[in-house]
């Protein structure tokens, strides 16, 4: 076993190339905290622009197959890219693109060749951004219970009607990756289908939701969530991926990745900033990090973030070395969620009420601790609650049911 990622000459060469490129193309202002909605939009456009440039080099989706516009890079190069963008506090893609990440993976596994050729290149090249739309008012944890949003066959296409909630982000989207009911009378698990559709189609409207936080799903901040309404939206039959009423099978890929099966090798940004804050903030002349109470809390927080890092590292390794997985995906997700929630209390205790304010004079820099206080709670819910992660883990460990559940497929044809 070797925990140290050792780098070959080639990797180091690639790192120099990537770093030089990022230094030339990532403006520090891209990481600013937006001052207004307009500024937020401007920043979004800058990040989209960066996404297109990364896409053109094959670095936006580095391990995606080159023949569909992805980078076609091996894991050794992908690691370097992840590490280098992480140094800039960015992820790949550098903006919220949940439907791109999860939809493209699902299409690789379940789409037809024509669909791969049509849908994947714009995603991999950063030409489009895509939201994933699963949840509806009556179907959250119970994804198989999707019923309100339906697609009905009509001539050479489908008509979509219904409503999705808690989805997307701010600044709109180009594409929508969504699950709908295609057989209201059909059996559970045999009545759902996935669509990859154009978000500008007539009949699609959005309304922002006011939530306690803009809680990131994993890496990037997801921004303001939306309710999306579908009012008789006509879509081509070509948009249906994986076969009519085969949506539950397709969902296994989507959910496996959303539940953390892909792993992660980045740093914990909250931890890095928390430590720096505690080292730089003095109370009664002594840095917080030198006060015994705070040190005790910091030690607990550090240990949890380290365990989380190790789980992420392991999942990353299992995925790219193509080793079998069972409960590891939901385990990472469960651990990340419960740790984030627990950390809200631990940080509040360590830092005191300064953790609660965005005030430039009395809060932490750019309010990052206040953001954690909100998002540590809000992030518990996206992509399956902690309860659902535990249900998943138990099934995959093989307890409680006669057959042991398998992890979803995450690798497609290449």
């Amino acid at each position: 076993m070797d925990f140290e990622v050792t780098y070959t000459e080639e990797q180091q060469r690639f790192r120099r190339e990537v770093r030089a490129w990022l230094e030339a193309n990532v403006a520090p202002s891209m990481l600013r905290t937006p001052t207004s909605a307009e500024d937020n939009y401007r920043r979004y456009l800058e990040l989209r622009d960066l996404g297109r440039k990364l896409g053109a080099k094959g670095w936006l989706y580095p391990t995606a197959p080159a023949k569909y516009g992805g980078g076609g890079l091996d894991v050794d190069h992908a690691i370097i890219l992840e590490e280098e963008v992480d140094r800039f506090d960015l992820s790949l893609p550098p903006y919220y693109d949940s439907g791109g990440r999860l939809g493209s993976a699902s299409i690789l596994v379940w789409g037809t060749e024509e669909q791969r050729q049509a849908f994947l290149p714009p995603i991999y090249r950063g030409e489009v951004r895509t939201w994933q739309l699963l949840t509806e008012p009556g179907a959250g944890s119970d994804l198989a219970g999707v019923r309100m949003t339906t697609a009905v066959r009509d001539g050479d296409g489908y008509v979509i009607r219904g409503q999705k909630i808690f989805v997307g982000s701010d600044n709109g989207t180009d594409r929508i990756w969504m699950i709908v009911n295609t057989d209201p009378k059909g059996k559970r698990h045999e009545n759902l289908s996935w669509f990859m559709i154009d978000a500008s189609l007539p009949g699609i409207t959005m309304q922002p939701m006011e939530l306690m936080g803009t809680g990131g799903e994993g890496g990037t901040d997801s921004g303001v969530k939306q309710t999306v309404f579908f009012d008789d939206v006509r879509v081509p039959a070509f948009a249906l991926v994986g076969g009519e009423n085969k949506g539950w099978t397709v969902a296994t890929t989507h959910l496996e990745l959303e539940h953390g099966g892909g792993g992660r090798i980045g740093r914990n940004r909250v931890w890095d900033r928390l430590l720096r804050y505690c080292q730089e903030t003095k109370r009664d002349g002594v840095p917080l990090s030198q006060q015994q109470d705070v040190r005790d809390s910091l030690a607990d927080i550090y240990i949890k973030t380290e365990v989380q890092r190790l789980f992420g590292l392991r999942n990353f390794y299992l995925t790219y070395a193509r080793k079998p997985k069972s409960y590891e995906g939901p385990q990472l997700s469960y651990y990340r969620k419960t740790t984030g929630l627990w950390m809200t209390g631990a940080i509040l205790e360590a830092v005191g009420p300064a953790a609660l304010t965005t005030d430039p004079a009395w809060g932490a820099p750019s309010g990052f601790l206040e953001t954690q206080q909100r998002n540590g709670i809000v992030s518990v819910h996206p992509g399956g609650t902690t309860d659902i992660q535990r249900v998943q883990m138990a099934r995959r460990i093989g307890i409680g049911r006669s057959t042991r559940e398998k992890a979803g497929t995450v690798h497609g044809a290449e």
């Binding site: 306690m212 965005t358 009395w362 809060g363 518990v380 309860d387």
Partner: protein
């Protein structure tokens, strides 16, 4: 032994609960969240007419002379909102501080206005060091021509943006508890107040820029401020705890109702043992906070030594509210983080009150001291 409320307490509870249901439904509480000042004129006037603002004050100062337990019954109801406003800051902590620290003349001058609601007090204790002990008080007035001049900052002061009068704890000597209390007009030249933005409820910055305070503003005697404040805090904290208990109770009821009405996988989610576990954890916290609070109140009202119980109550209640909200968020998932649903108002309040008047670690240490371990 009798752990029930008295008849008049039951009546007060009924009145308060129907007032809250009528005047401050969820949308009103949510609507108030973004206001710079926590004081809503109409509600404040109605509360004054009901005698709620002077509930801890003796009749001679315009109050109703109720016991702390009576006041706690009321505050439990207010906490269910959680109703914002300087009810506690002025009507409990402010009132008790003046009562404990002031001369009789000062009490007669200040307190009747508190009971009618014309005067809105807040006590400014903490500073950027955020300590709740006397050692944390470093703001030192300069003496000039028999008056004081204040320069500096008080931080995380509750409801300061709605206060007319500030009671400011200042350092006036080198001894550990050489603290005095000054009664400062919130409109005096050089005083500015500002609500701190973020995930906290009406905690404010109060800045003093060459503020002239006449010598007559000294409440009671110099250097006796900390002792008076400690006595006031000991009686005020359990009432704050009752407000927290009310918050926990409301969150509990919301959560139970949700487990009965929200259907997933064809059944109410309360059928899932994992969801049951969240609710069980929640109610365990609720009851811990409730009984720790009520025993402390009983000790105070019956003249028993109460210090350790008061510290325990605040430690337990602070932790309870925080984790009650966490558990409720787990129960509700997406619905719970919707601002309009009302749970986030509690979550934010639970974080605010976690530290206000001392966090659990602080109170656990004081409790251990009081028990003379």
């Amino acid at each position: 032994m009798d752990l029930s409320l008295t008849e008049s307490q039951e009546m007060l509870r009924t009145t308060a609960r129907s007032f809250m249901q009528r005047e401050t439904p969820v949308d009103v509480v949510v609507g108030l969240q973004k206001a710079e000042s926590s004081l809503e004129r109409d509600l404040w006037a109605k509360a004054a007419r009901l005698g709620w603002l002077g509930i801890v004050l003796p009749a001679e100062y315009g109050g109703s002379g109720d016991s702390l337990s009576d006041a706690a019954v009321l505050y439990e109801e207010l906490g269910r909102g959680p109703l914002p406003g300087p009810f506690f800051s002025s009507g409990v902590l402010g009132a008790l501080t003046v009562l404990e620290a002031g001369t009789d003349e000062q009490r007669r001058r200040i307190l009747p206005g508190v009971a009618t609601g014309e005067t809105v007090l807040t006590v400014a204790i903490t500073e950027p060091n955020t300590s709740w002990g006397p050692g944390g008080i470093t703001l030192a007035p300069q003496g000039r021509n028999g008056s004081f001049v204040l320069n500096g900052t008080k931080l995380f002061v509750s409801d300061a943006t709605s206060a007319t009068d500030l009671i400011v704890a200042v350092r006036t000597g080198d001894g550990p508890t050489d603290v005095s209390l000054l009664h400062v007009d919130a409109k005096a030249r050089g005083v500015s107040t500002r609500r701190l933005p973020g995930f906290l409820s009406w905690q404010c910055e109060v800045s003093f820029d060459n503020v002239q305070v006449p010598a007559t503003s000294l409440l009671g005697e110099a250097q006796r401020g900390w002792a008076a404040l400690s006595r006031a805090l000991e009686r005020a904290i359990p009432i704050l705890c009752a407000y927290i208990v009310g918050g926990c109770q409301a969150v509990y009821e919301k959560s139970v109702l949700y487990t009965q009405t929200r259907v997933q996988f064809g059944v109410p989610i309360g059928r899932f043992q994992r969801v049951q576990d969240h609710v069980v954890r929640l109610v365990n916290h609720l009851d811990s906070a409730r009984w720790a609070t009520w025993e402390a109140l009983w000790k105070l009202d019956t003249g028993r030594p109460a210090t350790a119980s008061v510290h325990m109550a605040k430690a337990v209640a602070s932790e309870a509210y925080l984790d009650v909200c966490n558990a409720a968020h787990e129960v509700h998932a997406g619905m719970g983080v919707l601002i309009e649903y009302g749970l986030p108002a509690h979550t934010q309040m639970s974080r605010t009150l976690f530290h206000y008047l001392g966090d659990p670690r602080w109170h656990k240490r004081r409790m251990a001291d009081a028990l003379e371990w």
